[in-house]
């Protein structure tokens, strides 16, 4: 971690049908952290990262990626959407999905070639999915589908990785494998932002955390702010860190 800011969110307000989902959120994510975004269902976690990625338009506020708008920096950011957000019955293979990770740097019209394919295969190998490269994606288990999504992001060779619940519905082996990759990414200086559901594993997996429930409750290092007070403020009930562990 250094003093550089990877993602800066200023006064962000997002609403669907006039109902505010995010309210005046300020957030600075330092470069090189492995950060969890936690909060109850419907807290606006997915909306926050979609706003960072310029997928949803805010009604107020700005977002900067390394000091510039997303449009200028998209090659530096890789996104892992929630697994349930796509139709896995789409007629395509694991390798083909991972190749999509190269589309951004290729730009319009140009097709992926040998170099791209080699990188995609390497990414598949990294997530332990090489032998499933030709498999139709609907015939993969939930954990395998999640690994394919991760490989697709790895291929982008980005500086910032933004992931929406990558541990959702995966088995213990896959969870370990993914955590190892996340830690490796951080070690090589990347910034990793993960929407996370399992409070119990926050201290073990992450070094930085943001509590969110429509408003930002707190953000900082897990050591400093992952405590009963913030958990209670975010989840509304009396939460105890000690009970989680």
């Amino acid at each position: 971690m250094n003093d550089k800011i990877a993602i800066k969110v200023d006064d962000l307000t997002v609403a669907y049908n006039f109902k505010p989902v995010l309210w005046d959120v300020d957030l600075s994510i330092p470069e090189g952290v492995l950060m969890a975004i936690v909060g109850p269902n419907g807290a606006g976690k997915s909306t926050l990262i979609k706003a960072m990625l310029d997928i949803v338009k805010p009604i107020a506020g700005t977002i900067e990626i390394f000091g510039e708008p997303y449009k200028k920096q998209y090659k530096k950011v890789a996104y892992v959407p929630q697994k349930g957000s796509v139709d896995w019955d789409f007629p395509t293979t694991a390798l083909d999905v991972v190749l999509m990770g190269t589309y951004g740097s290729l730009g319009w019209i140009k097709r992926p070639g040998k170099t791209q394919k080699k990188r995609a295969l390497e990414a598949l190998e990294k997530v332990g999915m090489l032998e499933f490269r030709s498999r139709q994606i609907s015939q993969l288990s939930g954990g395998q589908q999640q690994r394919v999504f991760l490989a697709r992001a790895l291929v982008q060779e980005a500086s910032i990785y933004i992931m929406d619940e990558p541990f959702q519905g995966v088995d213990a082996t896959t969870e370990k494998a993914i955590v190892n990759i996340l830690k490796e990414l951080r070690k090589s200086g990347k910034t990793v932002v993960v929407v996370h559901h399992d409070l119990q594993t926050v201290p073990e997996y992450f070094d930085w955390v943001t509590f969110l429930n429509v408003k930002k409750i707190a953000t900082g290092s897990v050591k400093d702010i992952f405590n009963d007070d913030n958990l209670t403020k975010t989840y509304g009930i009396n939460y105890k860190v000690s009970v989680l562990q």
Partner: protein, 375 residues
């Protein structure tokens, strides 16, 4: 005229050739573009566009006051586009479900179109204009210039799909991700929707407002059953579309009074039914067979496992045992005993069975797999 005679006539008869070529090309265009509508699960979109085109046709007739079919096409195009982009506007602004918005526009435009149509039909020159042919289509009115227009739309669609192949692929699989990669997803959507509107408009004269969306969806839905590759799916959809056009026209030409449009759609529907029943992998029949086979295998494995448990207790695994002791066991049937013997897992001698080495190994593997399946 028999179907055979028809096919020899196609080569020589100008009118027949024009119609056949037109319906085949229409089938190709619909199959290619319909594939994307099917993958987006936008099954109502085609319906909405074709119904939205009707008022445009009538208004174009009222303005030009003639039966100039190009004017009518332009009218259909304009009102189809207006309807379609109105739908996406509604979805964006109000967050109504897109099905709701589609249904709304569909009935609004179609109702308005029908209203205008009944009004126009009372006018003196309405009969020759034959506006009502746009409801169910009339392939017989296709002329060479119509076919040229269809060929141009086909060429443009093919070119656009080849050019933006990877963009359309990622866009239809995962639109949010596509946006995060920096692609202008709005632009891609507008291009695809415009192509679909074009395909529908050029098909209205042949297939008609009511059945046009079936023409768009059926070949693609059938093609999806046969492959897990997007490119092959689109190719197959184009082939099914073309065959629907050709056979629909052939059947119509050989049986005097049946109109072409509905027949084309009917042939396409036959492709759908065949594909949903017989395609390997996804078809109902094969799924049933696989299910039945799995159940059978399971029963066999249960019996084999039971035998293994018995044989394990003996020094010699091939020690013979009475068939009778299996009677207490649910998975046992005469058939499964015979099946096990066919696979050389056991040998049967009168009322006695004994496990072979092969059967023993197989049972041990099954046993280990069960243990490991909980990791």
């Amino acid at each position: 005229m028999s179907v055979q005679e028809y096919f020899s006539l196609v080569v020589t008869d100008y009118t027949l050739r024009t119609i056949t070529l037109g319906t085949a090309i229409l089938g190709i265009v619909c199959g290619m573009l319909g594939s994307f509508a099917v993958l987006r699960k936008q099954s109502l979109l085609g319906d909405a566009i074709s119904h939205a085109a009707l008022p445009g046709i009538v208004i174009a007739f009222l303005i030009s006051g003639a039966k100039n079919s190009n004017m009518l096409l332009i009218g259909a195009l304009v009102s189809g586009l207006v309807g379609t982009f109105w739908i996406s506007g509604i979805v964006k602004k109000t967050h109504l479900k897109s099905d709701t918005a589609l249904g709304l526009i569909l009935s609004l435009f179609f109702g308005f179109g029908m209203l205008l149509l009944t009004f126009v039909q009372k006018m003196p020159n309405a009969q020759q204009a034959g506006l009502d042919k746009y409801l169910f289509g009339q392939a017989a009115t296709l002329v060479e210039s119509d076919v040229w227009l269809m060929a141009i739309v086909m060429g443009v669609s093919l070119l656009v799909l080849l050019l933006f192949w990877k963009e359309f692929k990622v866009q239809h699989f995962d639109p949010d991700y596509s946006k995060s990669l920096g692609f202008n997803t709005r632009f891609l959507d507008v291009i695809m929707t415009t192509l679909i509107v074009l395909a529908i408009v050029i098909g209205l004269q042949t297939v008609g407002v009511v059945l046009m969306s079936a023409m768009l969806l059926a070949p693609a839905a059938a093609a999806r059953q046969w492959t897990n590759n997007l490119g092959i799916m689109i190719f197959l959809a184009a082939v099914f579309g073309a065959l629907s056009g050709i056979f629909g026209t052939a059947i119509s030409a050989t049986s005097n009074n049946l109109s072409t449009g509905p027949l084309i759609v009917l042939v396409a529907a036959v492709f759908v039914v065949i594909s949903f029943v017989f395609s390997p992998g996804r078809g109902l029949l094969f799924r049933e067979i696989r299910h039945w086979k799995n159940r059978n295998d399971l029963q066999l494995h249960k019996t084999l496992h039971f035998m293994y448990e018995i044989a394990k207790t003996h020094e010699d695994i091939s020690h013979p045992h009475k068939v009778k002791i299996l009677n207490n066991f649910q998975g046992y049937t005469r058939n499964s005993l015979k099946n096990l013997e066919d696979r050389e897992y056991i040998t049967v001698d009168g009322a006695m069975w004994s496990l072979t080495q092969k059967g023993y190994n197989k049972a041990m593997n099954l046993y280990n797999q069960q243990e490991n399946s909980y990791d």
